[in-house]
Subunit: 274 residues, 2 copies
């Protein structure tokens, strides 16, 4: 374990500023091609609900809609409890910057109990993380905050606009990933990891094209105890698209723990032009 | 084509009642085990955004959170435009009944253009609809509004609470389905069809157990022109779960047109007790 504090913890420092509003600061260290890494925004939204004084339970589902880019710097976030039931609680959340809404979200929290359980999805058959080389971060600031090991579907080398390097017949990327410097896994970190896949259309087209997520949903399939047991070990993250058509494609992702537990599934709708 | 009007059209009659609020009436004909069929609620939310006077484009993504059951009868729905960009528009929507919020939703609308397109998912290999027998509706009121032909994963017969009829090793249901009486397909109808699968846990456990959707997301992969071309022909709908754990399972679904076009994908998070 390093003693360096991860930038994620910095970005999750949300301060009460009255009337149910929290204020935070999006770090430049999470910069993306445009604005701030959406995964960090998802993490902030989870955190905002988490620290609501009347919060009940743990997150089971969160949907984030990226209405406009969030710039590095100050923002406010308003987690509003819509309804609290016996075992579930529903939030509607908005992020504003310069008094304009940039992001809408909904979240469902729940008190979970042990039940019958079964995982139908199969974990990808891959070598353990320590047998896969760490690659240089993707050419965006936020990627510096992760340790990344591609197992399949690495970002095509030398991807540039207008430079086609070879199309791929399918859009799957599988990678071992963890926060870097090492940081114990929690719900906020999982939400962020769900957004760490570069756009699937880059892989299919063999080139970078304009692309940006408009909506992302994350379902958490375990509790904080299971995330805590994962510690700061790499998780296995895999994603692919179902279809690309008329400016949009979808992405489905799975996040697996080191011990083969399915921690989360995620879905995105992504704008593209190609 | 029949001349009988489908109850869906009745339920989509939303009347302006001032201050951006619409009022509607949930028909008893869409009754579910508890409250009203969530698919109809999803359809109403799509319709509410659709008829907003400043609406731009067509729906590409919608997320519905079922905070509490909607009872048959009057409700109000408030579609609020959060932000309108050059090609996208973001909505936050709430349904209230008896002055309490029952449902939250977000929706993304977009102006789409022709692009490179590719579908990676494979359409299930099934016989055409007219070679599959129509089954009696599921034992809930809303199912009477559909014509249903199970290809795989039919509701286990004689499912009753406490009567186990045989567990299934996997949770896939595939079916041909259309509105009945026949009705041309539109976005509202597709959103509703995404919620027509009986709970996956019934299939896995071979028995009915307490279950209910807490959140559903629908991504539309085609425009209204493609839906119009589908007309009132049956669509092929397939769904399965990824994992069941601690009171929740997920469901991923695909809705295919008769000509093999992927019309929509959908995801749910479902509460269960087993």
């Amino acid at each position: 374990m390093t003693e360096q504090r991860h930038i994620l913890d910095e970005s999750l420092q949300l301060r009460e500023s009255g009337a149910g509003t929290l204020t935070g600061q999006a770090p430049t260290g999470y910069g993306n091609m445009v604005g701030v890494f959406g995964g960090n925004t998802a993490a902030v939204l989870v955190q905002a609900a988490w620290q609501h004084p009347d919060r009940q339970g743990e997150p089971v589902g969160v949907t984030v809609n990226f209405a406009s880019p969030l710039a590095p710097g100050d923002f406010s976030v308003m987690p509003r409890i819509i309804r609290t039931n016996r075992s579930t609680q529903h939030f509607a959340i908005e992020i504003h910057q310069n008094e304009q809404p940039t992001t809408t979200a909904t979240a469902v929290f729940a008190n979970r109990s042990e039940t019958w359980s079964s995982t139908e999805a199969s974990i990808p058959d891959v070598p353990p993380a320590d047998q896969v080389p760490v690659v240089a971060p993707l050419p965006v600031a936020w990627a510096q905050n992760y340790e990344l090991r591609f197992v399949a579907g690495a970002l095509p080398e030398f991807v540039e606009f207008d430079s086609q390097v070879g199309q791929s017949p399918e859009s799957t990327t599988t990678m071992w990933i963890r926060d870097w410097p090492e940081r114990p896994l929690d719900f906020a970190a999982v939400a962020a990891i769900c957004d760490t896949f570069y756009p699937r259309v880059f892989l299919r087209r063999g080139q970078a094209v304009p692309a940006g997520t408009v909506s992302m949903t994350v379902y958490f399939h375990v509790g904080s105890d299971v995330l805590a047991a994962q510690g700061s070990n790499p998780v296995l993250a895999t994603a692919s698209a179902t279809t690309f058509n008329r400016n949009y494609f979808d992405q489905q992702a799975q996040i697996w723990g080191t011990d083969g537990t399915l921690l989360a599934t995620s879905h995105q709708l992504v704008y593209f032009k190609a």
